[in-house]
């Protein structure tokens, strides 16, 4: 090849992960519990959005129903700990397994369609889960939800009841999961998913099972959402119908769109940012939904490919003469 060639992607991945971790450690040391709590939740939504990017940005399938997986894992955790007294760590694992298995079971059906049909199918599927959460009072507590979810039990003397330690736990989990997702997207799978989005007929003509690949992207994004859901349930020590609400799915989809589909960091930062915005906005006004709607409209009209390509162009513009290596944006 043309000499030593440091892959652009791994610099960006490693640099980003280190930056997030470093910022996180700083925050853990410097912020007071209230802001740490905000940061924890922000990281949760950042993770959710990043996972969704695998399906939306890489594979090209937009979903309005992924809160189903986010909430399901949380509900399983809540039921297993509050009703059956299971160890929180075990319950968390089971919650993730259950939600991911649910995704795996639904995936073969879901990928039979794509585009708008897929979007609306996921909306409907998410509502099935929401409906079950609302109506099945005996298990889910209905509109009251399930309170009293314990924090994970002590590890090496570290108590996660403390906001600071829980934040660090969240930080570690988020960084690890994002690193895993990056690893997957930088390998053959990422390339194949981009192929699915750009020309699925071409990919089929190369012998790839496109439906199978879509299922993989579906399950991966559901897995990440379920991990985020566990963290949220632990943090709030409560699970309710909010966690399976379509508005959560919509906000996460917006994060991907605003952040820049296919960039992973764009949706990550946007997921975090949108949550911060929500905190500020709801402190000042009741009209967060209105603002969110306007953001959607603005995003679609003004920044169709998201913010990340704009950021990259600003950064790359400083370094001329670089051969453009496309990373599969919108």
């Amino acid at each position: 090849m043309t000499g030593v060639h440091v892959p652009v992607a791994s610099v960006r991945r490693n640099g980003g992960l280190i930056a997030v971790f470093a910022l996180g450690v700083l925050a853990a040391a410097a912020l007071d519990p209230y802001w740490l709590g905000i940061a924890t939740q922000g990281l949760v939504f950042a993770l959710f959005a990043a996972g969704l990017d695998v399906l939306v940005g890489w594979c090209g399938l937009a979903s309005l129903g992924h809160a189903a997986f986010f909430g399901t894992s949380g509900y399983v955790l809540a039921v297993l700990t509050t009703r059956w007294g299971l160890d929180p760590w075990l319950a968390a694992g089971l919650g993730i397994v259950f939600a991911t298995a649910l995704a795996a079971a639904f995936a073969p059906l879901a990928v039979r369609v794509s585009g708008l049909t897929f979007l609306t199918v996921m909306l409907a599927a998410g509502q099935i889960v929401w409906g079950v959460a609302l109506k099945w009072r005996s298990v889910t507590g209905g509109s009251d939800g399930i309170p009293g979810v314990p924090r994970p039990t002590q590890v090496l003397g570290l108590s996660f009841v403390d906001t600071r330690t829980f934040f660090v736990l969240t930080l570690v989990v988020v960084v690890l999961v994002v690193a895993l997702v990056w690893r997957l997207m930088e390998g053959p799978l990422g390339l194949q998913l981009r192929g699915v989005r750009q020309s699925d007929l071409r990919l089929r003509s190369l012998g790839y099972d496109v439906r199978g690949l879509r299922m993989v992207a579906f399950v991966v994004s559901a897995f990440v959402a379920s991990v985020a859901g566990i963290l949220a349930a632990f943090f709030n020590q409560f699970v309710g119908t909010n966690s399976v609400d379509w508005r959560l799915s919509a906000q996460m989809l917006l994060a991907v769109v605003i952040g820049g589909p296919g960039s992973l960091w764009g949706p990550f930062v946007a997921g975090f940012g949108l949550f911060l915005l929500q905190v500020f906005a709801t402190n000042m006004t009741d009209r967060w939904t209105l603002i969110l709607g306007l953001l959607y409209i603005l995003a679609v009209l003004v920044i169709p490919r998201g913010l990340w390509p704009l950021v990259r162009r600003a950064v790359n513009g400083v370094r001329p003469g670089r051969v453009r290596a496309s990373r599969g944006a919108a």
């Binding site: 043309t2 192929g195 990919l203 190369l206």
Partner: protein
Amino acid sequence: MSPAAERPAELGSRANGGHAVVLEVDGLCKSFGGLEAVKDLSLVLEEGQRHGVLGPNGAGKTTLFNLICGVYPVTSGRISVCGFDVTGEPVHIRVRRGLGRTFQITNLFQEMTVLENVLLATTAETGDSRSYLRRLESLPESRRKAEEHLGALGLADLAEHTVDQLGYGQQRQLEVALALALKPRVLLLDEPTAGLSQVETAAMTDLVRRLPATVAVVMIEHDLDVIFNLVDTMTVMHRGQLLCTGAACDVRIDPRVAEVYLGR
């Protein structure tokens, strides 16, 4: 996914001359609603054979390709690749049985680099496509093969360029490279010289001539000088049906063909 592992060692029935039959199409029919696009078309292809498909526009040539590849389901008839009956199989299964194809309208991964395009093909061929946890940089064999394919086509310098930065002629060549990288037994070329300049056409013709002898080639082509130089046998289609088939030189002088097609 490793195509080589899924192909039989024995390539199906052996026709006259002791050459294996790599593609067999039997009584193929395709109707779209009331329109009969292909009617009772049959074809047998041996290993390494070079076969042309001609016919006026609308004769059903690309439809035939789409049927063989599995893009359209057949209304009736049978298709088998290397001895495997693939009549009901989806596209990707047929490809794994040994079928390769280029498209009439260039169909590449526009936003990826040239290298990434070919890597998708070579990772499939080497089986690296399932190594999900390894980075692309650490798949040396797939990378080497990709670079080789690009080098053979003279596209090595363009490896890091995205496809949409390539000229049309280069894109057409890349199409062929992608199909070849899978080491198909049968290659379907859909109008490979369409839209190419004289120079590019010569380069493409040369490329096709240099294709490995183990690959059977079926070519749709409008440029008569090009096709008569490249194929041994030929099928002429008219209105979805087989008009005549046989050795190129015989078809060339067949009066029915002249009437329908050559005498335009």
